[in-house]
Structure formats: C-alpha cells, structure tokens
C-alpha cells in the first residue's frame, strides 16, 4: 500500500478537530500561557483575545503556506516572525479604532500576540509544510481551541471573581465576590483546576478502556 505524503492527504474533520480538542494549544500543549492567564479576568476580554489571536493565526498561516517554497530555510524563523508581526500590527490598529475601552483593557497583550508560541508553532510545524487550504482549516481549529480555552478560564474567573457573566450580575446583592479570582493568583488557580479536571477525565477514560479489555478477556 502506498501512503500519500502529508502534502497530498485530503482535508478531513480531523484536521480541524485535532487543534480544538486532542492537541488543544493551552490545556494539552501548554503553549501561549501568558495571554491566556493575563487577559481572562472577564469573559469579554477572553473572547476578544481569542478572536484576535485566531485572526493572526489565519493570516500568518495563509501567508507562510503561500510563501513556503520561496522562504530560504536559514531565515525562516525570522521571516515567520516578521509576517506575524505584520498581522499583529493590523489587529492592534483595528482594535484601537473599533473599541478604545477594549484596547485599554487588553493593553500591551495585543502586541504581545507576536510572541505567542502557538502561532509560531503552527507556522513552523504545519503551515510551512502544507498547502494553503489545509493550513487554513488547521489554523481555524487551533484558533477555536485557543478561544475555547480562554473562554473556560474567563467565564469561571468572572463568575467567581465578580459574580457576573458578560457584565450581567448573576447572584444578586448577597453574593460576596472572590476578588482573588480576578487578580493574578486566581489565573494560576483556575488554570490548575482545569488541568486537574482534564487529567482526571483522561485517567477515568483510560481506566474504563482497561476494564473493558479485562472483561472481554476474562475466562468463563
């Protein structure tokens, strides 16, 4: 049987889903942690950051994939960084023009998308080896995975830390907010808690599979 080189393999839902769940950039690969923790004190910030990062991912993946035969191997990282920085500058100016409030809330973290390892990682390990349509689907999946992770953190931190969701109060006046959750330590605690949850789910799944195998092979 002849295996196709990965360049020619067709696009499947797996190309998309892999980035969203199995290889989730934040929870599984532990990449791009700085923006993840820094801007997730409210849900709105988390969504904005996720969308901005997804846009940069899509743009840079498309361009890197288009130029993959032209960029010499020795200067590829520098070229990728310049491409990424260009798209980040676009996002920076766009957010500044659209919503000053959001721009101030996210602060330097919009410009810091440049050094988000998720994006450089995609350019280096996927977009530089695949054709543009496939790179775009993959980038969209990873972007969705990143946004999903930010949302997980953002909603928990906003609900616990300010007692609101998307700015609407949830619990009434009697609720004493856990202020620490919107402060830096809360970011670490909530991320740790999500990681624990996923580790527990994974372990439970593995145990079930092992038990099933045992049941099948059990004599009598």
């Amino acid at each position: 049987m002849v295996t196709l080189p990965s360049e020619q393999k067709p696009i499947t839902t797996d190309t998309f889903l892999r980035g969203l769940w199995e290889e989730n950039p934040v929870f599984v690969m532990l990449l791009g942690l700085c923006p993840t923790l820094a801007v997730t004190n409210t849900t709105v910030n988390a969504i904005a950051m996720g969308l901005a990062t997804t846009f940069v991912l899509l743009g840079s993946s498309a361009l890197v994939s288009l130029l993959r035969k032209q960029i010499p191997k020795q200067v590829r990282i520098a070229s990728y960084i310049v491409i990424i920085a260009t798209f980040v500058t676009i996002v920076d100016y766009a957010i500044h023009a659209l919503s000053l409030e959001l721009y101030n809330a996210l602060g330097a973290f919009i410009q810091l998308i440049v050094v988000n390892c998720v994006i450089l990682g995609r350019a280096e390990s996927f977009a530089s080896k695949h054709r543009i349509s496939k790179s775009l689907v993959n980038a969209l999946g990873v972007g969705a995975g990143f946004t999903f992770a930010l949302l997980c953190l953002g909603t928990v931190r906003e609900i616990l830390g300010s007692g609101t969701l998307l700015g609407f109060p949830l619990f009434g006046d009697g609720f004493q907010p856990w202020v620490v959750m919107v402060l830096p330590p809360g970011g670490f605690f909530v991320t740790g808690a999500w990681l624990l949850l996923f580790a527990w789910l994974k372990e439970r799944k593995q145990r079930k599979v092992a038990e099933q195998k045992e049941a099948v092979h059990a004599p009598g």
């Binding site: 942690l33 700085c34 520098a78 310049v82 330097a108 830096p184 670490f188 605690f189």
Partner: protein, 194 residues
C-alpha cells in the same frame, strides 16, 4: 519614594509588580526551566542580560521612530532587535560554557519568544521612561524574573519528593504552586505603585 525615582522603578519591577507573578509574562520558561536551581539561576542571568540589551536598543529605536513618525514599525523593529540580542547571548554562552549551553537547550533560542522581554520594551515605551529609567526598569525586571524562577525551582525540587495524587503531578501542581507564590507577592502591593 517618588514614582519616577530610579530606586522605585527598580523595586516596582523587581517585587511589587513582578513580571512573572503579577503580569504573567515569561510563563513558558518559568514552567519549563524551573526544574533545577542552577539551571534556573543561569537562565535568569541570560534573560536579564537580553532584557538589558534589548531595553537599551528599544529606547534608541523608539526615539528614532518617533523622530521620523514611523511608530507603526515599532513592533517589527523591537522583535528584530530582541532576536539579534538572543543570537548574541547564544553565541557567547556556547563559547564560554558548552555545559550550560546543553543544559538550557531549546529554551535558549526560545528567549526570543519570551514575552517578558518584548513586554518590557513595550511597557517602557508606554510609560515614556527616560534612558536611565529604562535601564533601571530592565534590570529590575530581570532580577524579578530570576527571583521568581529560583523560588519556583526550589519549591519544585521539594515537591518531587511529596506524596500527591498521580493526576495532579506535573503541570496542574506547578500552576497551584505558582498561584500561591503569586498570592504571597501580592503582599508587596502595599509598598505602592501600580
């Protein structure tokens, strides 16, 4: 102390608003290279040096860009300067101490994508620091990064021997530890600054 004093800027970046524990900058090496104390110390030194060099260069570049009205090129210029500074450090370390070069491994070139360094360059631009203030800020930030890395390394060495449930080993536990460290550092907030 006045907020513009050099000593205040240094202290502010060093402990009050620690780059790792209060701003979440440079988390990848913070979790990646904090396994052993001596590696953490060397990584801290290398990062501090790159911070110092890129802070000085960023100050010069920014003056030039503002002069010619080219602020939209700031990001691209900064990242290029940082990448060159890291290359310099990499060559120096490789020449001076091959053992250290192997110990730091992939994390040495990855200093380029350490957001603490680009963050430092951007923050000093936003705060409109003078040359000397920028230098104080960069050394303070470097010292703060080294301190956080060393503390974490010490804790993790102890943690390896602790008896914890299997699922919480590794990343989850490190995050909880970092959260506690960050909580401790919040105690310094009373010293002032923002």
């Amino acid at each position: 102390m006045h907020p513009d004093d050099l000593s205040f800027i240094f202290l502010n970046a060093f402990i009050i608003n620690n780059f790792v524990l209060a701003y979440f900058l440079g988390l990848c090496p913070f979790l990646g290279v904090s396994g052993k104390l001596d590696t953490a110390w060397n990584m801290g030194l290398a990062t501090t040096f790159v911070m110092f060099v890129s802070s000085v260069c960023a100050y010069g570049i920014n003056t030039l860009l503002v002069e010619y009205d080219l602020e939209f090129l700031r990001l691209i210029c900064y990242i290029a300067v940082i990448a060159s500074a890291v290359q310099l450090v990499e060559m120096a370390v490789k020449k001076l101490s091959p053992t250290l070069f192997r110990a730091l491994g992939i994390f040495l070139p990855l200093i380029t994508t350490n957001c603490a360094i680009l963050g430092l360059a951007l923050f000093q631009t936003f705060k409109e620091y003078s040359f000397l203030q920028s230098v104080a800020y960069s050394i303070g930030a470097g010292a703060g990064f080294t301190l956080a890395l060393m503390l974490m390394a010490g804790l993790r060495t102890r943690m390896d021997l602790a008896d914890v449930p299997a699922i919480s080993r590794g990343a989850a536990l490190s995050f909880m530890l970092a959260g506690l460290l960050s909580l401790t550092f919040m105690g310094f907030a009373g010293l002032g600054g923002h």
